[in-house]
């Protein structure tokens, strides 16, 4: 019978659309653990993990439509040309990066990364930029922090907001024909000297280390020019890659939705069947209790509960379950009231079967298809409930859910700032998931409702 249900479901157009969306969501859920590093999920809220990404960058494909924005550049040690020389016991290691600048806009920021091992005398780092117009800018010249340790490993990154970099820029005011105080270093470095627009061409950026003893070595080196566009879905204010959040959000949302739906519907089913089957006083009392639960304001109580008991995802699932079984109980009870008077049930009772056996053997199997429908229909509610809780800041802080993406977007004022790629995709995913389950539930309901089908048989 279950097989027949599935075939009927696939035959109807709405059911087919719903099933296809679910298959798609399941595929996305499968992609998450297989292709995306699990670290990105555990360290979702750790800004350090995401630091190499650009800040608030739009999706890369926006370049196809609009003006060509600067694309993210991240260069590693292998990309650099290494020139080393030594004289008078001083070793000079020069890492040279070549960048071909062809985009119409400036980078969002830049970072110079390095890791060095050294002894008592700290090395000195000098960063030069050789531009297409043959001007040479020295943006940074400073020694690494000294230490008393014989063997220190020091790792750092120099940001475009670094004070030394800003001050270093001021000495080049004479080269520019406009006041440079209003512009950031990442703009000035790549800008024409006549007007503040991009100077296209090849740039040579070199990080030069002066090492004063033999034990000193440069371990790692890197250069990051923050893009205005990045990845399939762009990044947010904390430099997180949004596609990762959206993909990880899928299995979590499905898990929350299905768990809450299955458990709350089971509670509702058993509650409703008992009330309907027993009838009379039991029914009356149980339905009054049901009414009271029905009249409880869900959201304020959810807020209160999660403030009191905590924000773990399992607690949230529990709370959502607690508030979503009443509707099913009511519907199931009204159907059970009628099934109870069907002849085969009465026959079973006359044969002396126990109430429990009648309920589980004869009544609940009749209601199962309808139960599947209710489960599907109540999934969107659960997902929306979790999203709403997350959105007001009461979600599980250790998980990236769609609601939390939107919460972060709202606290960062993404909408008034026009950061659409932070807002549209998570909401679309919530809606898509909701829609899929709603369509399936609706179709199942029209196929499986025993009372509706009664006339046709």
């Amino acid at each position: 019978m279950q097989k027949k249900l599935l075939i009927d479901l696939l035959r109807s157009r709405r059911g087919f659309i719903g099933i296809s969306i679910i298959v798609f969501l399941l595929l996305v859920s499968a992609i998450a653990p297989l292709f995306i590093p699990i670290k990105s999920y555990i360290l979702w809220n750790d800004p350090d993990y995401w630091i190499n990404n650009p800040k608030t960058a739009a999706p890369f494909w926006t370049n196809i439509f609009g003006s060509k924005e600067f694309e993210h550049i991240s260069l590693k040690k292998n990309d650099a040309k290494i020139v080393s020389e030594s004289s008078d016991g001083i070793k000079i290691v020069n890492y040279e990066f070549k960048i071909n600048m062809q985009s119409g806009s400036f980078p969002d920021d830049f970072m110079f990364l390095y890791t060095a091992k050294y002894g008592n005398i700290p090395p000195v780092l000098q960063i030069d930029i050789n531009r297409p117009d043959n001007n040479n800018f020295t943006v940074y010249y400073s020694s690494l922090p000294s230490s008393s340790n014989i063997n220190t490993t020091f790792s750092d990154r120099i940001f475009s907001t670094n004070k030394n970099v800003k001050e270093a820029m001021f000495q080049y005011q004479s080269l520019f024909k406009y006041p440079i105080a209003n512009y950031e270093p990442q703009v000035l470095l790549f800008s024409d000297t006549d007007k503040p627009s991009v100077l296209k061409g090849t740039y040579q950026i070199s990080e030069k280390f002066f090492l004063f003893d033999n034990s000193s070595i440069v371990d790692d080196i890197g250069l990051i020019l923050g893009g205005k566009v990045f990845g399939i879905m762009g990044t947010d204010d904390l430099r997180r890659d949004l596609i990762v959040g959206i993909i990880w959000g899928t299995p979590i949302a499905l898990f929350i939705g299905l768990t809450v739906a299955i458990f709350s519907i089971s509670i509702g089913l058993i509650y409703g069947v008992i009330a309907g089957y027993r009838g009379k006083r039991t029914d009356e009392t149980m339905m009054r209790i049901n009414d009271i639960f029905y009249a409880l304001p869900t959201l304020p109580l959810l807020i209160l509960l999660s403030i009191t008991f905590g924000r773990s995802i399992f607690l949230i699932i529990g709370f959502l379950m607690f508030f979503s079984w009443m509707g099913t109980a009511k519907v199931i009870r009204s159907i059970a009231l009628q099934i109870r008077n069907f002849q085969y049930v009465e026959a079973a009772k006359l044969m002396g079967q126990s109430d429990l056996k009648v309920i589980f053997k004869h009544i609940i199997p009749q209601l199962l298809p309808l139960t599947f429908a209710s489960v599907a229909i109540s999934v969107p509610g659960a997902i929306l409930g979790e999203a709403a809780l997350s959105f007001i800041g009461l979600g599980d802080p250790s998980l990236p859910t769609w609601g939390q993406l939107l919460h972060d977007a709202n606290t960062a004022d993404a909408a008034p700032r026009g950061i659409w790629w932070w807002i549209v995709p998570p909401g679309m995913m919530i809606a898509l998931t909701g829609l899929a389950f709603f369509l399936i539930g609706n179709t199942l309901d029209s196929i499986a409702n025993p009372l509706r089908n009664k006339n046709k048989k």
């Binding site: 304020p300 709403a388 959105f391 800041g393 829609l435």
Partner: protein, 334 residues
């Protein structure tokens, strides 16, 4: 009905009771820590500091009776009274426009704004929903009918607060028609305040209407079509009563009671959504206060708001119940 109302209140308070105690103790601990920081008391080590805090905490909770079990009858009674009269002390972070930090004052300042937005949107949605639903029911199976059903399903799947963000994106950021922040700029004493308020209210109002009129119309259509298939409607049609009159007067009148019930439920759930929507728009009502209070963990405000929204919620259900008795002549008799 009154029984349900009272029981709900009671359950809420019982649920609130231990929570409130715990939260009050927590708030008190913060207070003690604050005082230590302000008076710059010096301690030898962290254990001494901790023991000082605990001692102080015990002393204070005894004075307030917080060390007793939350379920003693006298305490329960006291709690119900204090929550019902909103006697919840002072907020830590919020003040009214006039500078009072009393929880009751703050909440009462915000409630009218929420009610204004919520009732206006509900009224608009009711009118649009009934007429659209009836119109569509009269043309069952038409192109309009299908469009309406699809729209209803879609608007059900989107979280209303997300639609709010999209509305800001479209109307405030891209088109510059409405302000992104719904807090009026001029002060309440200005003569232009009303206009300013309405201008700022427009976008939240439109959003709330858009998200809910679809499902309203769908509910109305669903029940109306059921009624239209009844025998007495056919009888009326054979007598020669115009189709229009049957639809609007006979059909709607009979479909009224179930519609009222269904709508009571959808209203109740949309209330929560509209609270969050408020927060997105910065509409100076309860929703924004809720959002900010949760962010800053301002417990008295949260409890007060929970209580007030429970009351509003129950009143809404109560009103729809009354309208049910008005709509259904069978209920009047009993």
């Amino acid at each position: 009905m009154f029984l349900v109302l009272f029981a709900t209140l009671f359950i809420t308070v019982i649920l609130l009771g231990p929570t409130l105690d715990k939260l009050l103790v927590e708030a008190m601990r913060n207070q003690v820590i604050d005082e230590i920081n302000q008076r710059t008391l010096k301690f030898q080590n962290s254990e001494e500091r901790l023991s000082y805090i605990n001692k102080e905490l015990q002393l204070r909770s005894k004075t307030f009776g917080l060390d007793q079990n939350s379920f003693t009858p006298s305490k329960l009674f006291y709690r119900i009274i204090s929550v019902m009269t909103l006697d919840l002390g002072k907020s830590h972070f919020f003040t009214t426009d006039y500078g009072s930090s009393n929880v009751r004052d703050i909440i009462f300042e915000k409630v009218p704004k929420t009610l204004l937005l919520f009732t206006t949107s509900t009224l608009c949605v009711t009118v649009i929903g009934i007429f659209l639903g009836t119109y569509v029911a009269g043309k069952e199976g038409s192109w309009w009918d299908k469009l309406n059903s699809i729209f209803a399903i879609f608007s059900n799947s989107f979280p209303s607060w997300w639609v709010a963000m999209i509305m800001i994106l479209v109307f405030a950021f891209t088109l510059h028609i409405f302000p992104a922040r719904a807090t009026p700029i001029s002060s309440p004493s200005d003569s232009t305040y009303i206009l300013d308020l309405l201008y700022h209210m427009a976008l939240p109002l439109i959003t709330l209407i858009i998200v809910s009129f679809g499902s309203w119309a769908y509910i109305v259509r669903y029940f109306l079509i059921n009624i239209l298939n009844e025998d007495f409607i056919f009888a009326k049609r054979t007598i020669g009563i115009s189709r229009r009159k049957i639809l609007y007067s006979h059909g709607l009148r009979n479909a009224g009671p179930p519609i009222a019930t269904a709508v009571a439920l959808s209203l109740a759930s949309s209330f929560g959504g509209s609270i969050i929507t408020e927060a997105v728009f910065d509409w100076p009502g309860m929703g924004k206060l809720y959002y900010d209070a949760i962010g800053l963990f301002d417990i008295p405000i949260i409890i007060g708001l929970t209580y007030i929204s429970t009351v509003i919620f129950l009143v809404t259900i109560f009103i729809t119940d009354i309208s049910y008795t008005l709509l259904d002549p069978r209920v009047k008799g009993s």
